[in-house]
């Protein structure tokens, strides 16, 4: 992908998320309208969406969304995919010409299942097999980039304002029960198609406002578990940390949040004995996974939407509920824009996760 020239500018990304916890599916119009209201928080160098529940006809297949620089990258990648997967359907992701969206890569989509013999010989679970294939594709094939790789979900992103990216991908034609969005204002890293948010691995996606000053420590910690950080951005560590703790190690989501945004030492000091021992151990064991610096993030998995702030609230986050629908956003107005009278609207405290779970699912 083209690494774009950039200038350092004051930051102010926008994030937004909507989840219908009853599983009812709705079009991409609401999330586009919500993120578009915060246009001033972006600068046109990145916008993107993650959508869940959009591929019911292929819900058991892994949906690969791919960017290619050229036909050669596509051919090399497809050789790799065909070697490891049975592909049920492949083709370009539909898009519309939008005047402000230029230099787009070749954008393809594959619905695929790992080949039985490859799975058996690798000895891996199918999720782990796919995760390793994704890391290999990103690392080894020049000009190829895996945008998303989960089941019944997809990420749609690029260089542009988010509302234009939404139109480019025709998101009004999709229906999902959970949507997240990001408007980018790149500060420390270039604006390029792969560098737009969300960042994903399998069905996990992250949109992020802020920056992680702990990136070096987090990256080093993840390297020890086989994760390669290749995207020139701090945000991908959030995806890998949650993948490691929740998917691979089966840790409760709330505990993972307390590792990433732990209580301060003086707060731990005031806790009753049991909690004090627990949080002291958590900080001691997982110190390198703690995320420092300003952030508000929205993470989505197939059944869960999570919003989390840094420990001293250096980035904004607002949440609201209306019946089964949970909203989270950088600004209250971006929620009220699509839900005029929420039952409840509140500002989550620093480090306090907001978690929405699909009805009937245990986390």
């Amino acid at each position: 992908m083209l690494r774009e020239k950039y200038e350092r500018v004051p930051s102010g990304c926008a994030v937004s998320g909507i989840m219908d916890r009853s599983g009812r599916r709705f079009s991409g119009n609401d999330i586009i309208q919500s993120i578009a209201l915060m246009r001033e928080r972006s600068n046109g160098l990145g916008g993107g969406f993650a959508a869940y529940g959009i591929y019911p006809e292929y819900k058991d297949h892994y949906a690969f969304h791919m960017f290619y620089d050229d036909e050669q990258a596509r051919e090399t990648s497809e050789r790799f995919l065909n070697e490891h997967f049975n592909i049920a359907e492949a083709g370009p992701i539909p898009n519309t010409k939008v005047s402000s969206i230029n230099n787009e890569p070749i954008i393809w989509r594959y619905f695929a299942l790992p080949k039985e013999e490859k799975l058996t010989s690798s000895g891996l679970s199918s999720d782990e097999f796919v995760a390793q294939c994704v890391i290999n594709l990103n690392k080894r094939i020049d000009g190829a980039f895996v945008v998303s790789s989960g089941k019944n979900m997809g990420a749609f992103k690029g260089v542009g304002y988010p509302e234009d990216i939404g139109e480019f991908y025709q998101l009004y034609n999709y229906e999902g029960y959970m949507w997240t969005a990001h408007g980018r204002f790149p500060t420390n890293t270039p604006g390029w198609w792969g560098g737009a948010h969300p960042f994903t691995l399998l069905d996990l996606s992250v949109v992020h406002n802020g920056e992680l000053s702990s990136y070096g420590a987090n990256r080093h910690y993840l390297n020890e578990f086989g994760y390669e950080c290749t995207m020139q951005t701090d945000t991908e560590v959030v995806a890998y940390l949650l993948d490691l703790f929740v998917r691979r190690q089966g840790m409760p989501l709330e505990t993972a949040c307390k590792i990433m945004a732990p209580p301060m030492w003086d707060e731990i000091e005031r806790m009753p004995d049991g909690n004090k021992a627990f949080y002291t151990a958590l900080r001691a064991v997982y110190g390198k996974a703690m995320m420092n610096g300003p952030f508000s993030i929205i993470v989505a998995f197939n059944n869960v939407m999570l919003a989390l702030n840094d420990r001293i609230k250096l980035r904004p986050l607002v949440a609201a509920e209306k019946g089964d629908v949970l909203y989270v956003s950088s600004e209250e107005s971006a929620i009220v824009e699509i839900c005029a009278n929420p039952d409840r609207i509140w500002a989550p405290r620093a480090g306090e996760p907001v978690i929405g779970v699909l009805e009937g699912v245990k986390v």
Binding site: L37, M38, E40, M264, D266, E267, R270, I312, K313, P316, V318, E331, E332, S333, A334, V336, E337, I345, A347, R349, A350
Partner: protein, 244 residues
């Protein structure tokens, strides 16, 4: 009275219309259907009232120098950023960094406020800014405060809630914070000294709380009957010798 429908209007256009109306002598402007438009009333001068219906965007009343803004709803972050004079009345809750570096005027918030409210407020001679909050506040209330008055009332507080968050008055080196109700010592920054209130404090509290009660239809005496905690800085220049 001038009415502006801000529905789907860009903030630049809305603010241009506001300034045009003010320049043509309008002193009562009503803005309808506000959703997220930033910088409302910024840098505006004179004796006029702007009534906002909806949710204004960030930095409302920044650098404002005289007017009154009444918001019929909640506000977001950085209301009254570096405000110089005038009044803001918010009929709902407000976000983070309200009154950031404020140097004059008054902000009244009916409900809760977010983090870092009153950060780096300052005063000079008779220019003494004040923020009165009806509900509770998040962490870093009055952070790096250099002057002015913060009043936190804790109305409607639940039994398990604290009126103020942690690190209250951290880096404070001027001004005064009044908090209605008990505040645990551990919530204070190390620069904030807890003191009991005297007659002069009572007078200041009465003046602001009577206005607060009038705007939001409370009984001022009920509020004034509570016990207040006063926070002032231990020293005026806590870091004066840091580099000496």
């Amino acid at each position: 009275m001038k009415v502006i429908d801000a529905n789907a209007m860009h903030y630049q256009q809305l603010n241009a219309l506001l300034k045009q109306a003010a320049a043509s002598g309008e002193d009562d402007i009503r803005v309808l259907n506000v959703r997220g438009q930033r910088y409302i009333g910024d840098g505006m001068r004179g004796n006029l009232t702007i009534t906002v219906e909806g949710i204004p965007g960030n930095d409302m009343a920044a650098f404002m120098d005289g007017p009154m803004i009444v918001v019929k709803g909640n506000t977001q972050d950085a209301v009254g950023n570096t405000m110089n004079a005038g009044k803001v009345v918010i009929n709902g809750h407000a976000g983070d960094t309200i009154g950031y570096a404020m140097r004059g005027g008054t902000i009244f918030v009916r409900d809760d406020v977010g983090y870092r409210v009153g950060i780096h407020m300052k005063e000079y001679e008779d220019k003494i800014p004040a923020i009165v909050v009806g509900g509770k506040a998040g962490d870093f209330f009055g952070e790096y405060m250099a002057g002015g008055i913060l009043i936190l009332l804790g109305i409607g507080l639940q039994a398990d809630e604290s009126v103020v968050g942690n690190y209250c008055g951290t880096g404070m080196h001027g001004g005064v914070i009044y908090i209605r109700g008990e505040v645990d010592k551990y919530r204070l920054g190390k620069e904030a000294d807890m003191q009991s209130i005297d007659d002069k404090d009572q007078k200041v509290l009465r003046m602001y709380i009577e206005q607060f009660a009038e705007y939001f239809d409370y009984d001022a005496e009920d509020i004034l009957n509570g016990t207040f905690t006063k926070l002032v800085p231990f020293g005026k220049r806590p870091y004066g010798k840091l580099y000496s």
